[in-house]
Each structure stands twice: as C-alpha cells, then as structure tokens.
C-alpha cells in the first residue's frame, strides 16, 4: 500500500515539475525582464521555478516515504464520473445552440435517470420541473440572461 502511495505521490510531483518547467519556458518567451524592470513573464518565471523546487521537495519526501500523502478515499465510481463530466461538457456545447430549458431538461434527465438510477418517468418529471423552475427563478425573477437557443427559451 505504501509503495502504491509513493508511486502516486511521485507521479503527481513529477507532473508539477513539468508544469513548473513549462511555465518557466512560456514566461521566458513572454520576457522575464529584470528586477529593475520586471517583464510580462516575471511573476510566471519565478512562480514556475518555486513550483519546481517545491515539487522536488515533495518528490524527495515521497521517495523517503516521509509523507503518507495520498488520501484514502471511498471507492470512487470512475466510470460514472467520466460520464457526468462528458455530460457537463456536452451541456456547455449545446447550451447556446439549443437554449437553456431544453438543454437543462436533457442534462437533468440524464443525471437523475442514468447516473442516480431514478426511474425514467420520475426523472423526466423532475427534470422538466427543475428546468422550468430554474428558468423562472434565474431568468424571470433574478433577471440573469440565460441562453435562448433555437426555440427562443
């Protein structure tokens, strides 16, 4: 178990080392400038460098197993998580094309029916109520402009 944790922490530390190095590279292209005349990339360069150093400290800690750093979480359902994330990305894609009410109805039906296992009739009913109620609250009452889409709502 400890070995798995060490590997996981090392991988995450190496990831941040890479992010830090890429940030330094990007910052140098923007122009780091000097202490007397800081450039657009100044804060990015130095922050990137600090990130690399801190990641290396975490990596060293992981190798020495000083840090018991990966959290024990309950069993996560990665398949469901992936489905929900995909649904949310599709929601963002279709929101302005199909309008708020229709897209929200489809998303809520999917989340309730497919992910949470509520029966389809009930899911559709709750989803319709949620879409219409949130439209009434946010668009009509709070005057937040929600996308209208093809059908005008």
């Amino acid at each position: 178990m400890r070995r798995t944790r060490t590997i996981a922490t090392s991988v995450s530390a190496l990831f941040w080392v890479a992010v830090g190095l890429l940030t330094c590279y990007g910052a140098s292209r923007l122009g780091v400038g000097s202490v007397t005349e800081p450039g657009a990339g100044f804060i990015f360069f130095w922050s990137g460098l600090i990130l690399v150093i801190l990641s290396l400290i975490v990596l060293a800690d992981a190798i020495r197993s000083a840090e018991d750093a990966v959290r024990e979480m309950g069993k996560m359902n990665w398949a469901k998580i992936a489905l929900v994330l995909l649904a949310l990305l599709l929601y963002a894609f279709f929101l302005e094309r199909l309008g708020f009410v229709l897209t929200t109805f489809v998303l809520m039906s999917f989340l309730l029916g497919c992910i949470e296992g509520t029966n389809w009739v009930r899911s559709a009913g709750v989803a319709a109520a949620a879409a219409l109620a949130s439209y009434a609250i946010f668009e009509l009452w709070l005057k937040i402009r929600l996308p209208k889409g093809l059908f005008g709502f």
């Binding site: 996981a8 007397t36 990130l51 929200t104 296992g117």
Partner: protein, 500 residues
C-alpha cells in the same frame, strides 16, 4: 468609541431599511440551508448568487452575501448533531459530542446551546469588528506596495502552515493559484499571458467557475453512488432551551471559544476550521473530567460552535480594513466588492461608511434572526435532510453550472468549471488542499502588482521588503512560519481531521 457608536447607529438606520432586512433574511436563510446540506458550502453559494446580486445596490448585496457566511455556521451544526455528518468543514468538531448528545436523547439541548453559543459569539465578534476594523484601517493607511506584498506573502504562508498534510503541497497549490490568477493581459504592457489564443481568457479566469468546480461539482462527483441515503437520528426534537446546569457548564467554554475564534480568525489564512479544533482541545485540557469529551459533553459543543462563529467575524476584519481576504469565502466577497465598483482597502471604511457600518449592523440583526428563526425551523431542516441525495446532487450541479455561466454569460466559464471539478477531484485524491489555491488565485494579481510597484519604487532592490519596518515584520514572520516545521512536527494543521 463615541464615534463608533454614532456610526453604528447610522449603520442600523441602513440595515433596518425594509429592502436590506429582506436581503439579510434571504442571506441567513440561504446560509443556514447550505450549512445544513452536506455537499454545497457557503463559498460555492456566494459564488453562485453573485450574478443575481448585480441588479441590487452593493450594500444590500454584501448584506446578503455576508448573511450566507455566518448563516452557514449556524446550519452546519444541525447536520453535525443530528447526522454525525458536518454540513460544513467548520462544524466537524461539533460531531464529536453533538452526535453523542443526540444519541443520549439530548439533541434539543445540543442544538439549543449551539444556537445560543453562536449568537453570543457572533455578537462578541461584531463588537470586536466595530472596535478593531477602523483602527486597523487607519494603521493600514501607512501601507505601501511593499507592505501589501509582504502581508499577502504572510497570508499565503500561514495558509500553507495550517495545511493538514504536507506544507510543501499547500505551498505548491498557493503557487499554482498565483499562476492561474495572473493569466490574462499583463497589467502594465497588456501582453496576453498564457491565454493560448482563447479570447475569453484575456480578462483572466473568473473566480466563480473555479469555485463552482473546486467546491461544488467536485463534492458531487466524489459522492457519486456513495451517499445514497441520509438517516436523521432524532425524529422528534425536544427541549431546545438548555437547562441551568447546561448553562453553568457552557458559559466558560462559550466565552473562551468566542475569544479564541475571534483572534485566530483575524490572522490571515486561519479561517474558522482550525480555531474550532483548538477550542475543543483547550476545553478538554481545562476540564476536570476530560473523559466526558467525545461522550456527549455539552462543553464540546458550546465552545467550538461559539468559536467558528466568532472566527467568521474575525475574518471580516482583514477583508474590510485591509482589502485582504483570509479565507476562500472572504476571497469571493473581495471579488464581489470589486465587481460592485468599490475599492477594498483601508479607505473603504472612510469612502463607503454606509456599506461598512450597514453591513456590520446587518450582521447583528442577522444573528438575531438566526437565533429566533433557527430553533423553530429545525424540524424543517430535518425534513430537508430527508430529500434523497441523488436529487440534491443533480440540483447542486445545475446551480453550479448556472452560477459559472451567468457571471459573464459565457460557456467558456462552464468548461472552466468542469475542468476545475476534475482537477478538484484529482487534488482530493492526491491530498492537495484547494483553499490555498483559491486564496492565491484571488491574491495573485494583487500580489503581482504590489511586487512590481515595490521593485519600481526601490529601483530594483528586493531589500525594500526588509528596509521598511512593517513589511520586514511580515516577511520575518513568514520566514519563521516556513522554517519552524523544519525543526519539528509542530504544525497546527497536522492531526486535524481529514474532513474538508
């Protein structure tokens, strides 16, 4: 003192206007509701309601958003006591003895003392706010860019120091927060920085989608298929008014909890969670019967509940007097102040006395509303808790998406929220805490401006931070905070509960 009293009366005149009373009521009710519901916290709720407040005047808006902050502290205890699940991270400690009291048939007394303790502490912290915030603001008028830079560095190092696991990881998240916060046009040369050609990123990444992703959607994703049923322990709650014996046991803990919470809440980065743990530990240490703690000791409910409420009042002081947020929650409030066209900082109290004193007076009224309404409404909150989590989680996701979208009416913000929800999940998995990231995200642009101005002022000498006495104190304190853990395991965050 007399001046403060006159200003406070002026504040009450503003807070008692019907519109402000209504928004105060909505704020505290929403706060209690999200405090009761596990899965969505005050930080995400404030971000969610932010766009809805654009049509209001800034005073009503801040009154409502502040109401959410302290209302959530009242609501959080309800789930801790009845369900053994903290509705808020800052109510974790209340579970220890609150739930045991509920098991012994004393749920009413636990809920009652938690409400009264919260009210007393809330009142105390408001008076502290009245006395300290204007004084601190006057002092901060001497601050220039180096002092602000040093103060922000100190805030971020304290947040990292309080991290529950690895301090290095918390510092990493603070650095990542600064990087993300600085994305967009350069404040001096207007060069696009790390925007990757995406036009919407020129203005930077919005705080709302980041918070929605990290605090709202992540929580739902983590619990997918895990939390399916919530069982409320107490069906019928009786005896909400604590007995004379309960009061006798609780007076001291409430007083100590209020003091501890308020003064720790003042420190940048401390928030309400750590003081709660410390107050519990302190009461256990002071008790003649420490073995009662964890088995339904009323002191174990009274002190932490008073403490977390007082701490919220404390966190408002750096926000309103210095313009520096000390928690993720106050970071969003800072964003709100800027959106309303106000300039947070030492001049806020002088330039917008109606806002400052109006909000403070509303906090007192809000606390009173919570005390009067909260106890009778507990059966309603219990009923709310019986709503299946499957429904709640879908609604939380929907509200987060609307909240992310509506600030700029941009679907890019929804993509950002979705990306950050996944990032948040990975952060949980790999034990990276989100609070330093959010705080640094908000402070990043301020920090960069202060740093660059300081360097221009000093003609490129970094020694300016040590040559000016106030900034030198902040920098030295930050160095001590960074160095101390190297000489032992004396970090407050260690040993705290994993729950966040």
């Amino acid at each position: 003192m007399l001046e403060s009293l006159t200003s406070l009366i002026y504040g009450f005149n503003i807070a008692l206007q019907p519109q402000n009373l209504l928004y105060c009521f909505i704020g505290v009710t929403m706060g209690t509701l999200v405090g009761v519901l596990p899965g969505i916290g005050p930080t995400a709720t404030i971000a969610l309601l932010l766009p809805a407040t654009f049509s209001l005047n800034p005073i009503s808006a801040i009154i409502m958003l502040s109401g959410i902050c302290y209302g959530a502290m009242y609501g959080g205890s309800t789930t801790s006591i009845l369900l053994n699940i903290p509705g808020e991270a800052s109510s974790v400690v209340t579970c220890f003895d609150g739930y045991q009291m509920a098991r012994q048939g004393r749920a009413g007394a636990a809920l009652g003392i938690s409400a009264f303790g919260s009210f007393i502490a809330g009142t105390f912290s408001i008076f502290g706010l009245i006395l300290l915030a204007p004084t601190l603001a006057n002092f901060a008028l001497r601050f220039g860019p180096p002092e602000y830079f040093a103060l922000m560095v100190m805030g971020l190092t304290v947040v990292a120091y309080l991290a529950r696991k690895s301090m290095a990881k918390a510092l990493m998240m603070a650095v990542v927060g600064i990087l993300l916060g600085c994305i967009g046009l350069d404040p001096i040369t207007a060069t696009p920085r790390f925007t990757f050609g995406i036009l919407e990123l020129a203005d930077g990444i919005g705080i709302a989608p980041v918070v929605m992703g990290l605090f709202g959607i992540t929580e739902v994703l983590e619990n997918l298929g895990v939390l399916t049923k919530t069982e409320v322990f107490a069906e019928k709650i009786k005896g909400l008014f604590p007995t004379r014996e309960d009061w006798k046991r609780s007076v001291g803990p409430i007083a100590r909890g209020s003091l501890l919470g308020f003064f720790l809440g003042l420190l940048p980065g401390v928030g309400a969670i750590v003081p709660q743990f410390l107050s519990y530990a302190l009461e256990k240490k002071l008790s003649r019967h420490p073995e009662r703690f964890g088995n339904g000791a009323i002191e174990g409910v009274a002190s932490p509940e008073a403490c977390n409420n007082a701490a919220v009042g404390g966190t408002f002081i750096p926000l309103l007097s210095l313009g520096i947020p000390s928690t993720a929650m106050t970071a969003i409030l800072l964003g709100a102040l800027m959106i309303y066209g106000l300039t947070p900082g030492p001049l806020l109290i002088k330039n917008s006395p109606d806002l400052f004193w109006g909000v403070i007076a509303s906090m007192y009224i809000g606390n009173l509303m919570l005390l009067i309404l909260n106890l009778p409404l507990i059966p309603l909150w219990v009923r709310v808790l019986k709503i299946p989590y499957s429904y709640l989680s879908c609604f939380i996701i929907l509200f987060c998406l609307i909240g992310a979208y509506s600030l700029n009416n941009s679907t890019t913000d929804i993509y950002v929220a979705v990306v950050f929800s996944f990032v948040g999940l990975l952060m949980k998995k790999f034990a990276f805490e989100p609070a330093p990231l959010v705080l640094a995200f908000v402070l990043g642009p301020l920090l960069e401006t202060a740093l660059r101005r300081s360097l221009i002022l000093s003609d490129g000498s970094v020694l300016i931070f040590l040559q000016r006495p106030i900034s030198a104190v902040f920098i030295l304190f930050s160095i001590v905070v960074l160095v101390v853990p190297l000489f032992g395991q004396i970090r407050l965050g260690r040993g705290l509960s994993e729950e966040d």
